[in-house]
Symmetry: C2
Subunit: 448 residues, 2 copies
Amino acid sequence: ALVMAAGKLDQADIERAAELRDKALKSDLAYDILESLTTEVGPRMAGTEGDKRAVKWAKNKFKQLGFDKVWTEPVTFPSWDRGVEQAEIISPFPQKVIVTALGNSVGTGNEGVRGEIAHFKTFEDLQAAERGAVGGKIVFISHKMKKTRDGRSYGKAVAARSRGASVAGEKGAKAIVIRSIGTDHDRLPHTGNMGYAEGVRKIPAAALSNPDADLLLNQLKRGSVEFGLTLTSSPGELLTTYNVIGEITGRESPEEVVVIGGHLDSWDLGTGAVDDGAGVAITMAAAKLISEGKRPRRTIRVVLWGNEEQGLWGAKAYAKAHKDEMDKHITGAESDFGAGLIWSFDWTSVNENEPLIDQMAQLLKPLGVKKGNPKATSGPDLWPLRGLGMSTFALRQDGTDYFDLHHTANDTLDKVNPEHLKQNVAVYSVFAYAVAEVTGDFGRGIKY
Amino acid sequence: ALVMAAGKLDQADIERAAELRDKALKSDLAYDILESLTTEVGPRMAGTEGDKRAVKWAKNKFKQLGFDKVWTEPVTFPSWDRGVEQAEIISPFPQKVIVTALGNSVGTGNEGVRGEIAHFKTFEDLQAAERGAVGGKIVFISHKMKKTRDGRSYGKAVAARSRGASVAGEKGAKAIVIRSIGTDHDRLPHTGNMGYAEGVRKIPAAALSNPDADLLLNQLKRGSVEFGLTLTSSPGELLTTYNVIGEITGRESPEEVVVIGGHLDSWDLGTGAVDDGAGVAITMAAAKLISEGKRPRRTIRVVLWGNEEQGLWGAKAYAKAHKDEMDKHITGAESDFGAGLIWSFDWTSVNENEPLIDQMAQLLKPLGVKKGNPKATSGPDLWPLRGLGMSTFALRQDGTDYFDLHHTANDTLDKVNPEHLKQNVAVYSVFAYAVAEVTGDFGRGIKY
Ligand SMILES: [Zn+2]
Ligand SMILES: [Zn+2]
Ligand SMILES: [Zn+2]
Ligand SMILES: [Zn+2]
């Protein structure tokens, strides 16, 4: 259904947007928010004390920043406890190795599991393996992810993490260890969620640090390897956390919302500075800066998503709670790819060409941001809303180094470049202001 | 006492040295030795199983490489056990932090110690502090080391590690945590030895990872911090390890020795690839390559020093055992600064100018190595022999990144650049061949 084109900004709007952009480039607000979150909360895995503190922190921060409305919406999910995680090469040459349990993994029992390593270079090789090839063994997938600006090699590599245990378990393996899905060389393994296919025997699953995967390969060159793994991870009770939402109310159409945000939870190994404290800080700061000037027509709704890491629970809860308000959801964007510079933006609209897009491209050019294409992807927490047909923009960050830190203990504040954070705030401010100021929109029931 | 100048290489020697240099640049031997040590032995802290395996490995490797003589000399030392190492910020904002016990530290007892942080920017500030300033508190020194090619900022920073506990304990502190002596930003703390001054109360001492030191500083900005430290480290029994020695016997003066080597032990957190597996591999490979050509006049003695990390125990034992043979110790060098490229060489001789030095400078120029000065320092394991007046050379490596890895779990094979290792072998081959081939020498009883 063709709808009124998004419309255009008038000259005064363009000047206000340019002012916002330049103000953001001089503002330390996002860095201060991120310093506060990583220092006063730190690790905040869904269902932990840190998660509770994060929810309290977010409500207070929205209020402190003067948002017009602040509230929470419940997110219920099956929790998971990490427990102890240890592993070793038992023979030929005994050495301790550093592992981390994959999120949602079952435990090994306190005495751990031992077995011969069945090595596969890739997840696809495991899929192709005979059933007998891994019976009673510990599967090891050694594929190493490459650095790319858009992180696409993550998509290919992550299957080993999310589906490796199911395929290995189905073929009779005792456990699975994968090389960490990461582009670093640090003795800091990458955790991350995984699932068990229906009806398949659940086996414990862990990730080796990259240097330890290299060590295991060197020992495998010399013959068969006996490996020991001890994980006391276990599923926890059904718990409830919250999406924390803050609004800058629109001056004319307050019921029409532009949704920006990042996810409030993090994995437990690090302090969640780049995943996703940066996204939280960038979008809170952008909305705050906008609120300091003339309010745009529509409401800017900053959603700090609960429990993204263990399966987009907050995003699903929000979509369910707001499924009858989709016609009021104009468009949105999520920042969940670290703190690297934004280099391009894509959009989605039922109207192929939008005059607003070229205006945005002009405003963003000085920030080094190129006009992308009308086939925007989006951060993961907007996937359920896209499923309900909402339009999204993708303000694409340079993720070349993102997977050095992703889901590791190294995800800490010192990794974030304050100047890069400012550029992100500038781009999000221009975007949110522009789409909230125009009267037209980007369409409903968009098919992706 | 002026002695015969070192003499010069004849043209045939120079050609042989050049051949050796070029052969080394194409040889994978040092990398293969290092891969073998880090894969088949791995962590090898003095007094542990790994240490025993390292001694066995070294004897076998010397024999496998065809050294003429291989033997061990005992090294007795007080051992130390690391135990559990955990810490946390208790308030204002509870967060676990990553620490490692400093070598030789006493434990806290199983229930750990708690106390308010007494922060000092530098070790010197702590020294200047009033006695009351730290009574019953946990001292924290936040100084961060800078990157330099020659690592000189390590010398300044390390005092906090080696003497911090003594000064803090003497002023009544309960424990001390220092920012890791390292130039990285990883959640991987740097261990390393420390000592307790005579008669001073012994307090537990640990190093925080750099990101956790930053976190502690951010919390201190908000007021006083309560800190908890649990170390179950403890002194062990008197144990014996070994210096493992391999010789390429000289063709004319076999009793005259040129001493090269590296230390065989490592700390327990990593696999000791750069500290000091690289030094072991470089010097074993250099001697082996020399042995494949015409033997030089003098013997090349590769000493793999035992227990350097906890106080140069192997070096002291060797000096004691060989103190009556110092007139046969012509000169020496130790590789104990990682696997970076060599950029310069210094020498020591009672004869100010040595024609041999200029010949060496010509041979090393194509490797990017500059002629240095006649005031050579040396690797730590040659310090006792220098105390007995032996001449030493310093083949100076670029240590800019060395203290990213030094004494951390990140000291693993994948950090080593195979091409840099070859250049080191080429420089050590030329050096050892040249000083072993000339008849003159560099003097006795040198005062440094
Ligand atoms: Zn994320
Ligand atoms: Zn994540
Ligand atoms: Zn060393
Ligand atoms: Zn060392």
